[in-house]
Subunit: 346 residues, 2 copies
Amino acid sequence: MVQIPKQHSAQPAAPHKSVPGAVPTSADVARLAGVSRATVSYVLNNTSAVRISEPTRRRVHEAAKELGYVPHAAARSLRAGHTRIVLVPTPDVPIGPLYSTFLNELQWALSRLDYTVVQYGRVGLSGDAAARAWAELRPVAVLGPVGMGADGIAVLRRSGARAVITLGPEPVEGAHALLTDHRHVGRVAAAHLLSRGHRRIGVVMPKEPGLDTFAVPRLEGVREEGAETVPLRLAYDEQDAAQVAAQVSELGLGAVFAYNDEYAMLLMRALQDAGVDIPGDVAVMGADDLMLGRLLRPRLSTVRLDLPSGQELAELVDRLVREPDQDAEPEPREALAVTLVARESA
Amino acid sequence: MVQIPKQHSAQPAAPHKSVPGAVPTSADVARLAGVSRATVSYVLNNTSAVRISEPTRRRVHEAAKELGYVPHAAARSLRAGHTRIVLVPTPDVPIGPLYSTFLNELQWALSRLDYTVVQYGRVGLSGDAAARAWAELRPVAVLGPVGMGADGIAVLRRSGARAVITLGPEPVEGAHALLTDHRHVGRVAAAHLLSRGHRRIGVVMPKEPGLDTFAVPRLEGVREEGAETVPLRLAYDEQDAAQVAAQVSELGLGAVFAYNDEYAMLLMRALQDAGVDIPGDVAVMGADDLMLGRLLRPRLSTVRLDLPSGQELAELVDRLVREPDQDAEPEPREALAVTLVARESA
């Protein structure tokens, strides 16, 4: 234990107001508090190895507050060799309420474990270029890097990330994989429609870019379950919905599985406006189990998706950060729970 | 202009593969490329003041790639004295499609101007404590710090932020203010309902926490326009909606302005399920102009909100960063455009 010399005097000798506009430094804080710069650093970084008296501690905090001094995270992370930053990539696609709730809960759980959650976009960057950009922040953990290969994971690992957790249909070498297999969503929807005697299923695929990551495996799931599939490309507007509704009638489709509840609502309205009875003429299913599905008439049948709880994921991050070697060859784990919610529309 | 000595040799003398698991440094890159560390730094930071031959440049990039070396943003920002980080606080409340689109566009526009957008939550932190946490990242600009006072802004400024732009109903000292006055939303809705002869208006206020920031000024706006207001607290579930629908009938309310289109849809369904005719018995209005309003029958009347374009805001950030003094005493500017969208429900 290091004994810190006391340098306190009732009146600070040096002027302590910094030049207006200048960024206050820990030297300014030391001067005002009448202590050494090392003491300022020990107090503000909560170093437990050094015992510092409560009055000194208070004086440093008061001086820091008066000057508006804030430690520099970059400088601190250079000293410590690592950060407490957990990087959560900002999704490229508009996020729904499901993911938004998950993210919020995760953020709370990580902050309680003293991590700092930073969301970082990858606009204009492909997977491995994104990895290099993210590595510059030296995160201690990275969650859910979409579309990143083994090279990208290696870059992150070499830059000090102790935990890299992917969320996706396939495990990626070097990362801890939580599998989210959206084919499963399609299979559950198809099983329900097949059980009602529909062997030929129209599958609504959004025209909006970026959503095929989820839409294509959902379509594949419907096919895998043994149904004949008819892909229906639909943009999220009323005009396109009217055209697809006409197509459904022309093709004589008796059942449609829509990408999610919002696309299901859009198509259902267009079908009803064209005089089609649901589910009498056409059965319609959505996915995600949003509130709006319960408010439709007939009530929307859908597939409910549950991501792991934010708390659970935060604990996994913390465990991997503290014991990085233990999960060097982690078992991929299925993370997406999928349940049928049968209501009235199918 | 500095002349860099060439140290190239066809075969690197020193072993260049770093210890497995060790983080590669610029010294490793220098060794592998056969150049000085200064050259590595000049090449990887794209310093234009130093002329370096194309073959040397290529060699450095190849060595960095082979070793998986990534510059340390923290170290770089310490050298440069500032970062290119633009901090956009993660909203506490689930974000709707309006804000999500705005954020996406903003991110693209800023990345084209070579800024790095970082979203940073303030879970568990109050306004000024959040400012201190954010200041640790030394952002060059901060956008939309909700609920932050003059002290928080001063902390951010002193830590090197050249642009702090608030989005809110009131200007905050020391920040560039884009005003978003949600009373205006209430006034536009009330004016429409008053013109249809409704003097007494039920105003749906979400029970969900965090939304009063917007809901209270919207209620005030309805009152300011000269209507008698009846606040109706509503949780986002069907049971609560049935109770509020009963309340609307008991109170004999002929018009309801809901917090947004989603709450309007919820209450409209409960009213219709109770046999209430819309707009015959009760006129219903929403806000936000979401797609779902167009899909309801009757079609939902609403108030459309437009935020400034992401491109516009990115250009403002860049101007303030490059010429921080020019807008030392900025004029607050109204940033929220509000338009009535009259359909069938009111």
